[in-house]
Each structure stands twice: as C-alpha cells, then as structure tokens.
C-alpha cells in the first residue's frame, strides 16, 4: 500500500470518525504500518489467525470526563467491549493504559477508576493488566484511558460485509444521537439543556449474544455507530459491501431532545455519536423475529427496522423522507462535536 494522505497537518476533523478519519487511516496509518509487516485491513478489531480469538483497542479522551449517564472510565470499558461484541466476539479480558496530566486531583482519577471497575464487574470482564503515565501540566487534559480487549468468537458468528446482499434488512437497536448531544450539552457552551437526555453508554455484548444465540448466520454484519454516527458507519458498510443502503427516515428512532438540539444547531442526528447502540444487517427472512427479540431485551427496547440493502453500482446511503423524496446520507465531514469519546 502507498501513502496518499496529503494534508499537511492533523486537524480535529481527522479524529471525528467521518470521512477525514477514514482518509487518515487509509491514506497514512494503514499504508505505513502495513509496509513494515502488519496485516492489511486495520479495522477496529482483528481476528488472530489460527485461533478463535479477537483483539481490539480504543482510546478515550472525552471532554468533559463526567457527563449525564456516564463518564470517561465507563466509556473506556464499554467502548472496547462493544468493539469486540459487534465483531461477534465474547469479551474475555481488558488491559488499560492511563495517561494522567500532572495536577489532576486524585479524587478525579479515582472517580474514573471506580467507574472502570464497576463497568468491568458488571460485564464480568476483568481488567487484568495496565500501565500508567503522567505528563506535564498543560500537555494533556486530565485523564486519558486506552483499553485493549481480547475476546473469543461466538460459535454461531458469521459476520462479514461480504455476506451483505441486496434484500437484507437494516435494524438499529434504539434511539440515535443520545451520547453526542449529551456531551455537547454537558460542555455548557449551549444555552440549553435537557433534563431527560443521558448518554446511552452500555455494554452491548448481552444483546449481541442473544442475537447470535438465536439467529446465528442470519445476522450478517454488526457495528456500533460511535463517532461519525449511523451515516458514517453505514457508508463504510456500503463501500465495503458494494451496495446501496436505503434508510426510511420515518422509521428511525430519535429522542425528541436530540431532534430538537439538532434542529437548532443544524446537525444531522445521523451523524451524531452513540455509545450503546448497534446497527445490524439481518437477512429478510429473520428480520421480524429478530426485531421482536431485540425489543424484548433491555438494550433493544426501541429497536427498529430502518432500511433495506439494495443493489447499486455506486456504494452509498440514501435516505427516503416520509413524503417520498430522497437525499444522500453522506459520511460526516468536518468536526461538529470534537472529543466525544
């Protein structure tokens, strides 16, 4: 692979999870690393050849580090569990690397550590090893956490964008955009808040396990739409699977505070981050049963069948409005909400 990343410097948009992030990974990170021996692909998680083990890693820099519904430490555990879960792997163990800025209060660090411990205990996935570094005051923002997770493939998992084909159905597990808008409001830069809105941070493995136990190969692909939102995630799938994805706007569950905030700020809820939702491609024969099962599960109460996979020569995501018009749903460009996870 050749590097083709031409931007002279790294901007916040390169970390926002949309098109610029993809460009950074595909144009610079993957080519440079693979040139010296790493296997091609460079996805969120990796299946270790000759085993049934998966490995993944994720860093968390969210600001503020405590917000309604969760905190950085909890995200750091759940986020990595979810990367394994949507690869169809049961999380087995985590490691954590913590970077603390000198001058941070011990209490602030303890809050994050306790949240990590509680989330890991709740998921029954231990944090087994770690590392701690301290950087000079002003060279970091209080606490950053990187977690690495190892998981074992679910015996019935067969998740592969190559299996996604026209006629398959798109299902999401609940309301979109809760996390991103919660963070935006928690920063206090807007003159409005919502009493009811909280981050959706959650460990998705129990929901994934239920889907794979009951529907196995009918579940063809899964992802947790974090930074860049549903639109960015589905655009990546469309490109990987060489299909068009049609989303019916009227079917997509979005909480009123998120809709309201997006209307005021000119954001698209399809671009806003989630931390406890998954989107799955399910074969049409099983979609109704799977949806019923998801709705009966605490993590999927607001699950909805939101769209269809269609044949196309150009991979893209199209959104149909309730009154019969269409628009393209592109990946996030730019950076509306920096440092949300």
């Amino acid at each position: 692979m050749k590097t083709w990343f031409a931007d002279e410097e790294i901007l916040m948009a390169h970390g926002a999870g949309g098109r610029a992030s993809r460009k950074l990974i595909e144009g610079l990170i993957a080519p440079v690393l693979t040139e010296h021996g790493s296997p091609a692909g460079m996805g969120d998680s990796f299946h270790i050849a000759g085993t049934d083990l998966w490995i993944t890693t994720d860093s968390f820099v969210v600001s503020p580090n405590v917000f309604p519904g969760g905190c950085l430490g909890e995200l750091a555990v759940n986020g990595t569990l979810n990367d394994l879960a949507v690869a169809g792997a049961q999380p087995l163990a985590l490691t954590s690397a913590i970077i603390v800025e000198a001058g941070t209060s011990s209490q602030e660090l303890k809050v994050q550590l306790e949240a990590m411990a509680i989330a890991s205990q709740a998921a029954a996935v231990p944090i087994v090893a770690g590392d701690t570094k301290v950087v000079e005051h002003g060279k970091g923002d209080r606490v950053y956490v990187t977690t690495t997770g190892v998981g074992r493939s679910h015996p019935k998992a067969n998740l592969d964008p190559g299996r996604v084909q026209p006629g398959d159905m798109v299902v999401c597990s609940g309301t979109l955009g809760d996390h991103g808008i919660t963070i935006l409001m928690a920063r206090g830069e807007l003159d409005f808040t919502s009493a009811s809105l909280t981050s959706d941070t959650a460990n998705l493995w129990p929901l994934v396990k239920m889907l794979l136990d009951e529907f196995g190969g009918a579940i063809k692909w899964m992802r947790d739409p974090t930074r860049g939102g549903l639109a960015s995630t589905l655009n990546e799938l469309a490109e990987d699977a060489k299909v068009e994805i049609l989303i019916e706007e009227g079917r997509v569950p979005i909480a009123n505070p998120v809709r309201g905030a997006c209307e005021i700020l000119g954001l698209d809820p399809f671009h806003i981050a989630n931390e406890g939702k998954l989107v799955a491609i399910i074969s049409a024969d099983y979609v109704n049963q799977a949806l019923t099962a998801m709705k009966a599960h605490p993590l999927g109460r607001n699950a909805a069948h939101i769209g269809t996979v269609r044949e196309s020569t150009t991979p893209m995501v199209v959104c149909a409005t309730e009154f019969g018009a269409h628009r393209t749903l592109d990946m996030l460009t730019g950076d509306p909400l920096p440092r949300i996870c």
Partner: protein, 372 residues
C-alpha cells in the same frame, strides 16, 4: 416535536405537491430562493423531486459565508496572527478557505481562534480575561447583525475595552437589486428570506414588486412552508401579479422586529460600498460601526489593510451565487472541491448551494449516469 412535525406532515406535503402539479401551465417557472437556509431545506428534504420538471429552483446569494470574499478571511487571519489577540467566530466561518488557509488551519498552527455560538460568548471571553484583546469576526445579514449590535451596546455599557468587532455584516436588499440589474437576469419570482424578514419585515422588499415587477413570498424553512410558497408563486406568476406576500406569518410581521432594528440603527451605519463574492462591489450593501461605538471597531483599532484575494481558478462560485449557473455545472464540484476540502465558500457552509447539492444529490446522479 411541536412547530416541526406539523410542517413535515406527509399528507399535507403530498397534497401541496399534487396541487402544484395540477396548477402549473405549460411554461417554465424560474424561482429563486434567496436564503441559504431555504437552499439547505430544499436539498435536505428533496423537494425538487416533488415538483413538476418545469419549476426550476435557482439558489440565491443568501448564505452569509458564501458571499464573504476570500480577502476578508485573509484580513481576519492577519489580525489573528500579527496582533496578540483572540479571534472568535461562528463555526461556519472556521472552515472558510482564505487564500492560504482557513481559520481552522490557522488555529491548528497555534493562532488563538475560538468558535463561539453567539457574539455574547465572545464578549464573555473578553470579560473573563481583561488582559487579553478579543475580536469577534462578525458576518451575516440582518439575521445576525442585531445580536452583534446588542453585544456592542453591552460592551459599551459595561465598559469592556478589550473587546472589538471585525464587522462584515451585510444587508439583503442591495444584492437582490444587483441580481435583478444583471444583464442575464431571468427569474419569474422569489422565495423571500425567512429569518432575515423576522428582523426587517416586509417593506424592504416592496421594490422587487414595484420596480422589477416580480412576486416575492417570504417563507418559512419547513417542507410544507416551501411547498405552500411555491404554489403561491405559481399562482402569482400565472396571474402576472407582482406582490410582496408573507407565508411565514408565525414568525414575520410586516413592520419587522422594532427592538432589533433599533439596536442596529443605534450601532451601525451603511458602508459606502462592500465587496461581495460573485457580485463584486455593491454600494450601501454592508454595515460598519458608527459613533460613539467606533472604539469597538477592530478595523480602526488595528488599522486593518484591505486585502483583495483573487477567486480560486476554474471555480464558478460567482456565477452559481447569482443563479446564472447551477452547482453541477462547475467542473471542480466533486473532483477537487468537496465538503471535506472546499475550494469555494459555497462548498463550506451547509447553506451553500454546492455543499447542499454535493451532500444530498450529487452521488445519486452520478450513479444514475446523469453526471460524468
């Protein structure tokens, strides 16, 4: 959600669409939406699909960052880099390319440039650190000008001296006149701006009907608003009636917003001329600070030297901006000019015609073979 759902009601919108189809005669209807907010709504909701093919919607110059010449961005960045100041700006402005860099790029290289949601936030930054000079890069039509005016009045009242405004506010009437004076002018009617009109009311549009004999319907931003106004315009155009109408009655009053107009009159005076992107220099089309508020004028405080930066080569920004060409006719659109790497300002703002077209339509047409 109240005030949104009722204006996106599928039954109502389909009924309006059917009424328009039934009503149109065998002729072309060229209708310009002046405001970038309307352009965005038209693309976001795919409204052109719901209209007969002989209604053509032309995108006008009412996107504030789109009409800002590159030189103004350059001037702001010179301010930020050569003086030890904090430059504050709306989020939209951060990505507008100057001739060498955008505010975002200048920020990444260490210039102190911060995004604010309101000029009052910029004033707060100044109040929190009296040792630091804070400049607000003010842009926009009469929609945003009143909040800048009120902020300056507040700064004066509170005696905040480390705050100033780089004022690039413009007014909507003069460019509208410039478009109608253009030799290629060929429009049948206008969808009038919604937000601007909440401030200025309806009377400033009287010249459109009286002098140029074109109907204009001031319109809200939801799909049902736009469809209702298009139906209204079709009727007016067919009847040969040139009147100023108000569809957006839930927000716009004929006389406008008295308090906002008073604040603007208190703080601003007309500039003799102002350079517009695509439209060139237009007389009396912009605002500057008047006495006794000129001590808050960053242009005077820092003796800003005007910079004239040429438009990007090969781009059709100017022609697209006045409705003479469509975004898809520009050879750069989708190739070198994209939302993530904009060359022209029309690709920067979500209200820019090119950004809206690229984001919501472009790739579908490419797939269908309707564009190379």
């Amino acid at each position: 959600m109240q005030f949104v759902d009722e204006y996106r009601d599928p039954v109502l919108i389909k009924r309006l669409s059917a009424a328009i189809h039934e009503r149109v005669k065998d002729r072309q209807y060229r209708i310009m939406e002046i405001c970038g907010g309307h352009t965005h709504s038209i693309y976001r909701f795919g409204l052109q699909e719901l209209l007969p093919s002989n209604i053509e919607l032309i995108h006008g110059p009412g996107c504030p960052v789109c009409v800002l010449p590159m030189g103004k961005v350059d001037e702001a960045l010179v301010l930020a880099r050569t003086h030890d100041i904090t430059l504050t700006a709306f989020g939209d402005v951060m990505r507008v390319p100057g001739s060498k860099e955008s505010p975002f790029q200048a920020k990444a290289q260490g210039a102190d440039i911060r995004m604010v949601y309101s000029p009052m936030d910029a004033l707060k930054i100044a109040m929190n650190d009296p040792s630091r000079e804070v400049v607000f890069f003010a842009i926009g039509f009469e929609t945003t000008a009143p909040s800048t005016a009120l902020t300056i009045i507040n700064a004066a009242r509170l005696g905040i001296e480390n705050f100033s405004v780089f004022c690039n506010h413009v007014t909507v009437g003069p460019p509208l006149r410039a478009i109608m004076d253009n030799e290629f002018f060929d429009l049948d009617g206008f969808i009038g701006p919604g937000h601007v009109s909440t401030v200025i009311g309806l009377t400033p549009y009287d010249f459109v009907a009286d002098e140029y004999h074109r109907p204009i319907v001031v319109t809200g931003f939801e799909p049902a608003d736009l469809m209702e106004s298009i139906l209204w315009l079709v009727k007016l155009i067919d009847a040969g009636e040139a009147t100023v109408e108000n569809q957006y009655v839930r927000a716009v009053q004929r006389e406008g917003n008295g308090a906002a107009l008073a604040a603007m009159a208190e703080v601003f005076e007309e500039r003799p001329k102002f350079e517009w992107r695509g439209l060139g220099s237009i007389d009396s089309s912009a605002l500057r600070l008047r006495e006794p508020y000129q001590r808050f004028d960053a242009e005077l405080r820092y003796s800003v030297t005007p910079i004239k930066s040429p438009e990007p080569e090969g781009a059709l920004c100017g022609e697209v901006l006045i409705g003479q060409r469509r975004p898809e006719e520009c050879p750069l659109l989708g190739s070198s000019c994209r939302p993530e790497s904009p060359i022209g300002a029309l690709m920067v703002s979500s209200e820019g015609a090119c950004s809206a077209y690229y984001t919501y339509v472009h790739r579908r047409l490419v797939t269908n073979g309707e564009r190379p």
